[in-house]
Structure formats: structure tokens, C-alpha cells
Amino acid sequence: MKVLRQFLIIMIISLLGEILNRILPFPVPASVYGLVLMLTALMTGLIRVPQVKEASVILIELMPVMFIPAAVGLMTAWDKLRPVVVPVIVITFVTTLLVMGVTGIVTEKVIEKTEKGAEE
């Protein structure tokens, strides 16, 4: 029954996320409200990790297959993608490399700086 209780806790937080998504005016998905609520609950000690651990491991492991129906939905969106398929590919390539490069360089520089600061 332990896992059932864990699922219940996660489902209740999902429901609260859904309610926030309905009443707040921001374009934030219910799942993200739920994630923030769960993180807050863990940080404040309202929920402890062992109370949700097994169920969250199962859910995260199963997550990749949950995207299959949406990915297959590409067949209905093909008409919308076709006219912009080249720009979309270019944008995807360029921005991914840019983001990875900038994040890496900035993080590396700040680490070097703080390590130097600590030595002095």
C-alpha cells in the first residue's frame, strides 16, 4: 500500500497544479506548477523524500514513452511544418550549439574565478 500512498500524494499535487493553471493568468503548464509545489513541499519538510521516492522513480522511468502519442502527432502537423522545415532545422542546429557553448564557457569562467578568489 506504500506505493499507492506515494501515487496519491503525487496525484494530489498534480491536481493542485491543475487548479493553479486554471486560476492564475500565466502561460505556465499545470505540470510545472506541480513541480514547484512538490519542490517547495520537500524543502519545507512538509513531504519527505521516502514518502514519494518509489512512485517518482517509476514515473520518471516511464516518462519517455509518454511522449510517443505527441511525437506521432507530427503526422497531423506535417502540413504546417513543410513550408518551414529548412529554417526549423537550421535554427535547431545553431541554437543548440550556441546554448551548449555559452553555458559551458560561462560556467567554466565563473568556477575559475571563484577558485582563484579562494586561493588568494
Binding site: F7, I10, I13, S14, G17, P27, V28, P29, A30, S31, V32, L35, V36, M38, L39, L42, V49, V52, A55, S56, L59, I60, M63, P64, V65, M66, F67, I68, P69, A70, A71, V72, G73, L74, T76, A77, K80, V84, V88, I89, V90, I91, T92, F93, V94, T95, T96, L97, L98, V99, M100, G101, V102, T103, G104, I105, V106, T107, E108, T114
Partner: protein, 230 residues
Amino acid sequence: MQSFIEYSLFFGPVISLVVYEGGLLLKRKYKLAVLNPLLITAIVLIAFLALTNVEYESYNASAKYISYFLTPATVALAVPLYEQLKLLKENLAAVLCGLLAGVLTSLVSIFLLSKLFGLNHEQYVTLLPKSITTAIGMGVSEEMGGITAITVAVICVTGMIGDITSEWLYKILKIRHPIAKGLALGTASHAMGTAKAMEMGEVEGAMGSLAIVTAGLLTVVGASFFAQLM
């Protein structure tokens, strides 16, 4: 056939999972990033549905139940994030600067390139969440009026690009610190980048998983502003 598929509760989920298992097998056998199981599954299923003349709606009538637990699964991402908060606190300045720089670079570069290519609002917001984890990115795209199916495909391809190019890019740019490597992979290429980071090392992997959620959350905030620019 069409009507059976429409009324069946198990056709969609079973065929999806069978093809996905096949994708996993291929990935395990050849270890190539291009063999992303989700992308393979999508391509094979689209080809199958097109060849057998089955409408997407008929397939999705039962396949949609696989996605039912997506919101709870995203909520569950808070647990590993919480477990890595210590790592975040120990390297707070570097991690925060890296994350902010990465997320801003993503939003700004997508905005500028979309403008350059003359994309419309719908196409632009479809691309905005491309670097973050599918669970959050799909929701962001939907909330802002994007085309979720394209967002999911672009997110998959983004993950593959990070996986394939990271080692080469780190060599050229001389990015050597494990924290920087992991954070960059997670910020640019979400879970697929993090899987690569885990191969590089434990610290890289932990930083990658930290970046998945934090970059995702920062993008939710940033994208709601950037969406209004075009």
C-alpha cells in the same frame, strides 16, 4: 480495421510500446545517438499508420492513455532535483550564471533567427522551448499557442544534436570542468544531453539532471516574456 482500432482500448498503447522496445534494442545494439528510441518510434508509427490508412485520431483514441501520467511524472522530477540541491548550493554562483546565460542565449538566438527567417508567431513559440525537457516544453508550447507535435520532434532532435556534438564542441572551446560540461549538456539538450553527461562522469551527470529542471523552469518564465516579442 479502422473501426476496431478506434474502439480498441489497447491497440494504440500496445503498438506504441512494441515499436519503442524495438527502438531500445537498436539503440543498445549500435549505440548511435541518431538511433533515438522516441524518434524511431514516431517515424515507424507514422509510416505504419500512413501505409495502413489509419487516421491519427483513431490511433490516439487509445494511445492517449499512455500520456495520462505525464503531469504526475513531471511533478516527480522535483524529487531528484531536491536530492541535488546540495550540489547547487556548493557551486551556486557558477551554476546560476551558467544557467541564466544558457537560457537567455537560447531564447534570444531563437528569437533572432525566427525573425531572420520570417517565421510567424505560431512557428516561433513552437520553437521557443526546444532546449528543455519534453514534459515542460510541450506544456509551454501548448500554453503559448504553438504546435506541440512539432515542439516534441524539435526537442528530440535538439537532444540528439547535443549528444552527438558535445565532446567535439568541448574540445574546440576548451571546456574541461566537469560541472561546466554537465550543466551545458543539460541546459542545451535536456534529458538526452544528461544521459551523455552521465557517460562522462558522476558530477557531469548530476549537474545535467539539475540543469534539466532548473533550465526548464527558467525557460517557462523567460519564454512567457519572449513570446510577446513576435
